[in-house]
Every structure is written in structure tokens, then in C-alpha cells.
Symmetry: C2
Subunit: 474 residues, 2 copies
């Protein structure tokens, strides 16, 4: 245990405390002075930069262009779509004055930018030829929260919000699903989160949307975390904001819109899926440091070897040599807590044998590797590392995926072990309200790739048209 | 003149109207619903993305790490540094409630983040070993403005704000100047703005700083635009926020801080320096499209030639083929108004001779170039293009740089032609207030690289220790 680092509670003893300990000791974030806000320190922000960089390229491949819309939304504009304002009203941070001067109208800090962007679309599209417009912005948003936790729930968070407008409902719907697929591929292949995907129920869909699609990740403790959503609005917003265009038949028609978002919550998902009692375990794609080189002393031989190793790896990996005067043991602990995938220790005794010691963070291995083989060894081991942490997460999800046909069965499952529980469900909002009240759980999604058949709702017993995953969720 | 584009007023007839026309017709921005805010449309935001991408690499080369601090600052925190709050108080957008609930304390939307970051530094640094910390964030900030113009002055803008803390005042001062140099090199070499640099006078320095350094660009109309600033705070903020560390002699000492920022104003500087009566002229480094290929018809030969050209250029340039069904003439006009550096027209008559027609936006040339020579021709011409627009801007600055020794001389110069006027100046705030009142101009900087000698102040006649550039400014 390094100095200045407090002991991390075991995740099997107290998962919530474990999470707090890991977040604090790994140097990702600090708390901001306003309740519920957080400071992204360099190590935490670097993960977000890596997420942005990968996703931004994927967005651009499908023709999405980045934009920036203003932070503040006039109350009168927000109030135009009733479900939307009802959904957000209690969480809206409101600017009422500038200096000492009261404003004529309340201005909301954006909780999301649908209304600003749809109003802009109204000006931009006259004809079907002007569409689609595929916009995205990387911004901060605010939704005031009563209870907050770093990454999972904070009054301010960072995200991408995509907004598109189309002349054709099918094209809009396809885009909605396309963006969900980009999120799913990213979560699966880069964050190594074995997410499930599907449609949200009526109760859980986004305020103002016709359909909401989601990816859901299962945390180590068996709770679900919504990790990215994509919304098909149909012409709901277009009608509320009068967004019309002239179609190919020279007729006026309301346009079709979508939005999709993914936020810094994902960093919470990474932690609660992969981290362990020694600290973070970061997927190599988004790790700020993929390989850390630690020198046992500062002899000429050690320094020159670690410099050569650095030079041989830096074209392919994010490599860091900690040159501070912290102790060897401290540096080891820090690399572990920070979840650096691969650690190379360079010391005189090893060098006498022409080797260095390489550790993998996931399995905490220690392997002596000949200097000439280091690059090849790491190329292989970093792939194995990623495969292994995905496998562990998938195993957890599989061991925590259940079925139930009645509320009693459902409760019995959750009493034993939290997880995804597939149940036949009627889809009614009031029935889901009832489940929520009785069990503090709700639906996560109507999953893709599951055979859907008619049955009786697990709660109310009415006809059910599909099966739905319910779970306790963050 | 293409359809849907209004005529651009000549910049020699009405510079302000010309600016508005260019901004509007080139599709960079639109106005937001809250007065003084703006929407960055894809073409405008892409310029900012290019600026970010180049500068971010330069910052990281000197060890700067990106972070994200919260949007909202409690009033009690902001009020700790008196000069700072006095400087910003009237411009602060203030959150007073969430939903219907009044907050216990006013929260300001950041106009800049010094106070948040210095408070965080206080927690992070115990010893000289913990420094330097070199932080940067790319964010939105708000400073409520009475009169606003796109890019130049808006209530919300985007910028980088760097904040650093050091154990040694010389190191902090050196960093301040280093970051100014990065800004200057970037403005000169990438934006092709022949900026001058130097220190701000007492009156013009940043609220709370000991020293402020600036780069100033001269616009086509002879007005100056502050284009990037770097501030040395000494231990001013450290004292106000009690940021102490243990130095090498085991004694407590206040830390030394800096900050530096550059904003979307720069896009205004690019426009007002390089654009002309036909629209934008964008430096190739930051142009969203560097080469636009326009097909005269959609014959097989034309399409396949333009596709081949695209493929041969796309590894080195940002290339765009407009495949919309807009007319040929419209596409030409649009490429001109949008300031695309190089335009290639592909048509059957040219192809019969094995050539395409290539135009440079700056000199509006039209050159027939053999297909096999296109890449080499463009490699050369795009360099010439950048050189030429820099040369034109430099010529304007040189023709608008003057000297004066008395207020009468100064007024006489400005009556003839606006520009930078080098004057001996006492440095007193009250004297500069007086100049401002009499002439609506103020000092821009105490320039680097100018021989500084003792003289008499051009306004008050008292002893002057240095020469200062005064100018009318945006």
C-alpha cells in the first residue's frame, strides 16, 4: 500500500464504498464546490478524451458534422413541447439575473439541446433537398440531482448529443438504430462492456420521444447502468416547433428527427465492470497510460534500457516512465490503482540476465521477458488482457441473467442475486409504476435477439406481447 | 451570384456591414435565441475543431494535460479575489434557482475558471515535488455583453483556458511567455495573421494578474483585435486562496500561478484579415475544405476523373466533391464564399485536352492543368496561396503602422488612417483613461522587439519609460 493512498474497501464487502475508494484513490476526479458537480482531473479527463476521439471518428464516418449550440435556453422555447418540459422541469438550473440586473425571462442551462436544435432546423430546411442534417456536439449539460455520485449521477456531466433531421421517417428510424449500433460496438469492442441492447418501454422512454433505444451494461454487483441511448422522435418535435419542408411531391410535410447521447457515466460503467480490490482495470483502448515503465534504480544501465524500451514502444502504445523521486513501491502501487494494463519493471538484477519483469494488471502476473522479446510479448499480452477482462465481465453478466414468469419468482430471483431478469410484460406504464413501487426495480429494455412471444404479464397477469429485462439500476 | 445568397457589401464601403454579410452568407454561424449567443454551424465549428486540434498538440508537447472543471462557481468563492470579482461582476450570468426552488447561494456561470482551479490547486500541492501542474480546458464561458457581434463579442464563447501552478516564480513567468509564444507561432504560421506581441499596460491587464501578455492582430480596417493572452499572477491568487507548499528549504511558501486563453474570436480575426468582397479566404491549415472538386456535368468520364482526383488528394488534403443537385454556378459561388483555397473544375471540354481547370481563391486564378500534374501543381499552389494571404495581411499592417509623439500627432494619424500607433507613454491608468475618453482608443501592448527608451508621455507629458502601441480596437 503506497503512502497517501487509503485502503480500498473490498468490493464484495461494500460495493458502494469500494466504488468511492477506487474513484478517490485512482486520481480520476475531485468534488467541485457546488454540490453534485465534479472536477475531471487529468487522468479522468484523458479517459474521456480517448472515448471522444474513437467515437468522433465513427460519427464522422456516417457523415455526422460537429456543431455548437448555446448553453442557455429561454423558458418560452423549452415550454413548447409539453412532455419534454414535464420531464425536465424539476432539474433545470435557471439563470434569472446578470450582475444585479433581473432578466425579463428565465433562461435554463441546457439539460439537453433538442429544442434549440429543432428551432434551428426549422430555419435550415425548406426542401427535402436540405436533408438529412446530421449534427453532433460534445458539451456539458446540467440536470440537478438530489443524490449524486461521481460519473454515475452528477448535476453537470459531459456527453455527446447527436441531433438529426430527415425528410423520410424510415431514414430517421434507420439512423436511430445505426447510432445505437455504433454505441453498442464501441462499448463492446473498446470498453469491453458486454452490453445488451433494445427498446425502452413506454415508461422509460425519453421525454418527447416516440421510441427510445438503449444499451445497458451489467455492473459487477448485478445492477444495470444505462450506457447510451438513441431516440426516434417521429414528427413529435417537428409538430411542436412547426418544422416543415416541401417534399418530392411539392407538398408540405413535417420533418422527422432523432437524437442520441452517451456520457461520462460510461467511465462509471468501466469502473464498476472491470475494477477490482486493487483499483482500476482499464480497457487498453481508453487507458491514458497503456504501458508504464518503472525503474528500480537510476543507474546508467537501467535508465538507458528503459529509454530504449520507451522508444521501441511509443509508436504503438501510450507509454509512461515515472521519473519522479517517488519510491519504487509507491510507483508500483500507483500503476496498479490507476489500472495501467501493462507494467515493465527495469532493475539491475534482471538486466544481468538480459530480462525485464512484465506484469499484467488483470491477472497480476509477473513474467521475466528477454529484452529482445518485449515488444512481441506485449503485443500479444495486451490483446490477451483485453480479451480476459471482457470474458470476466461477460461471465458475470451470464451468471446474473435470469428469467421469471411471476412477480413472486421475480422477487425470489433478486433476493438471491441481482441481475437482468427476463419477464413477460404488458408494457403498461401503470403496471411498471406498480413494479417499481413494489421492488425498486424497473425495465431496462425489450431486448434485441430474444424470441418474443405472447404470454401473461409477470406483474398484472394481462396479455403480454413481449419479454423485457427488468433489473435494479443505477 | 448564387441563389439564396445575398450580395456582400464591399468592405471598403461599409466594413461592419461587409463583416455581417460574409458571416451570414458563408454559413459559419446563426444567431441563438438568447440575445448575444450564437450557433456554430458545421462549417464554423469545423474551423474551431481545426484550431483546437493544432493547438492541443502544441500544449501537450510542453506537458500540458487537459481537465474539466465545473460550469458553476459559488458567489462566495468568486468574491475572494477582489480585483477579479470587480472585473467581472456586471457580466456574470447567475443561477438563482433550480426548478421552482431558490438556491441558498448565487451561482455564477464561469466567465473564466481561475478561482475554481486555484482552489483545487490548494488541495493538490503539499510540496514543491507536486508541481508544476499544467492544466488546460476547452470550454464554453459566459460574459454578458451589451452589444454583440458574431465571434468578436458574444455572451457565450468557446476557448481554451490554461492554468498552471509552480513552486518557482521564474518558472511560472517563463511558462507565461512560452504559452504566448505558442499562440504567436500558431497565429502567424497557421492562421497567417501577422500579429504583434507584448505586455499589456496596467489599465489593460487581466483582473487579478501581475502581468498580462498579448498577441494583437490588425484587421483590414486598421482596428486591432486582441487574439490571445497569457497572464502571470505571481502569488496574487495563491495569497487570496491560501495556496501554500513546502519548499526545498522545508519552509511554507505561496505558490505561483499563470493562466492563458485563446477563443473563437480568432475566427473573427481570420475573417477580418483575409476575407474579401467575394467572401471568406481561409488559411489552408484551418479550412474545413482545402480543395473542392466541382463537376460540370455527371457524365461517366467526369465522375470517374473527379473520383480519381479525390482519391489521389485525400491522403494529404481535406477534399470535398459536392454531389448535390445544385447548379454548377451555385457550387462555384459557394466555394468562393466559403473561402475554399483551391477549386478544381472537371468538365468534358477540358478532359478532351487531358486537363482540368484549377482556381486559387486568393487571386481568383484559372489555370488549365494536365491531369498528371494536378497533385504537384496543388502542392505548390497551396503553399503560394498561404504565403500570399500572409503577405497581403502583413502589407496592410505595415501600411497601417505609425508613430506619434504628442496627442495631436496621434489624433492626426488616426484621422487619416486607423492602425497601430507607437507612442511614448507614462503607463498611468488615469492617463490611459484620459486618452480613451478623448479618442476612443487604448493601448494594445508594450511591444516586444522595439527599442524602448525614456521620453515624455504623448498624452500627459510626464516621464515615459517605454513606447506603447495604441489603436482603435474591437
Amino acid at each position: 500500500m503506497a503512502k497517501n493512498m487509503e485502503k480500498i474497501t473490498s468490493r464484495d464487502v461494500d460495493f458502494a464504498q469500494w466504488y468511492t475508494d477506487v474513484v478517490k484513490n485512482s486520481g480520476l476526479v475531485d468534488y467541485g464546490p457546488v454540490k453534485g458537480t465534479m472536477i475531471f482531473k487529468p487522468y479522468g479527463y484523458a479517459i474521456w478524451e480517448n472515448i471522444q476521439s474513437i467515437l468522433d471518428k465513427e460519427f464522422k464516418k456516417v457523415g455526422v458534422t460537429n456543431v455548437y449550440f448555446p448553453l442557455l435556453i429561454p423558458a418560452s422555447l423549452f415550454n413548447k413541447e409539453k412532455e419534454h418540459i414535464d420531464g425536465f422541469a424539476p432539474e433545470l438550473a435557471t439563470v434569472t439575473k446578470v450582475g444585479d440586473k433581473q432578466l425579463g425571462e428565465d433562461l435554463y442551462i441546457r439539460p439537453t439541446s433538442e429544442v434549440l436544435i429543432i428551432e434551428h432546423f426549422a430555419k435550415e430546411i425548406k426542401s427535402y433537398r436540405d436533408m438529412p442534417l446530421l449534427y453532433n456536439q460534445w458539451t456539458n449539460v446540467m440536470r440537478w440531482e438530489k443524490t449524486t455520485r461521481p460519473f454515475l449521477r452528477s448535476s453537470e456531466f459531459l456527453w455527446n448529443e447527436g441531433h438529426t433531421v430527415h425528410s423520410d421517417p424510415k431514414e430517421a428510424k434507420d439512423l436511430t438504430l445505426k447510432m445505437l449500433q455504433i454505441y453498442k460496438d464501441f462499448a463492446t469492442n473498446h470498453l469491453l462492456l458486454p452490453v445488451i441492447s433494445g427498446q425502452k418501454t413506454e415508461r422509460e422512454k425519453f421525454a418527447g420521444a416516440q421510441e427510445t433505444y438503449t444499451i445497458e451494461a451489467l455492473m459487477y454487483d448485478g445492477q444495470s447502468l444505462q450506457s447510451g441511448t438513441s431516440h426516434y422522435f417521429g414528427d413529435n418535435f417537428a409538430k411542436a416547433f412547426n418544422v416543415k419542408f416541401q417534399n418530392k411531391n411539392q407538398q408540405e410535410e413535417f420533418a422527422y428527427t432523432t437524437s442520441w447521447g452517451l456520457s461520462t457515466r460510461l467511465i462509471g460503467a468501466i469502473i464498476m465492470t472491470h475494477a477490482d480490490d486493487q483499483g482500476l482495470v482499464l480497457p487498453s483502448s481508453v487507458a491514458p497510460v497503456q504501458i508504464q515503465i518503472i525503474n528500480i534504480n537510476d543507474s546508467e544501465e537501467v535508465i538507458s534500457t528503459s529509454t530504449n524500451l520507451f522508444d521501441s514502444l511509443i509508436d504503438d502504445y501510450k507509454v509512461f516512465i515515472d521519473k519522479s523521486d517517488k519510491s519504487f513501491g509507491f510507483k508500483i502501487s500507483e500503476a496498479e490503482i490507476k489500472g495501467v494494463p501493462i507494467r515493465i519493471e527495469v532493475g539491475p538484477r534482471d538486466l544481468a540476465n538480459g530480462v525485464v519483469t512484465i506484469s499484467r494488471r488483470d491477472i497480476r502476473s509477473k513474467e521475466q521477458v528477454k529484452l529482445e522479446n518485449v515488444k512481441a510479448y506485449i503485443d500479444e499480452q495486451i490483446k490477451e488482457y483485453d480479451k480476459n477482462i471482457y470474458k470476466i465481465a461477460l461471465k458475470n453478466r451470464e451468471e446474473r441473467t435470469f428469467t421469471a414468469n411471476t412477480l413472486e419468482e421475480y422477487k425470489a430471483v433478486l433476493d438471491k442475486k441481482l441481475g437482468f431478469v427476463l419477464v413477460p410484460f404488458c408494457g403498461e406504464v401503470s403496471c411498471e409504476d406498480d413494479v417499481k413501487e413494489k421492488t425498486q426495480t424497473n425495465s431496462r429494455c425489450i431486448p434485441d435477439g430474444i424470441k418474443q412471444e405472447k404470454s401473461k404479464c409477470f406483474n398484472c397477469g394481462k396479455d403480454s406481447n413481449y419479454k423485457v429485462y427488468f433489473a435494479k439500476a443505477y
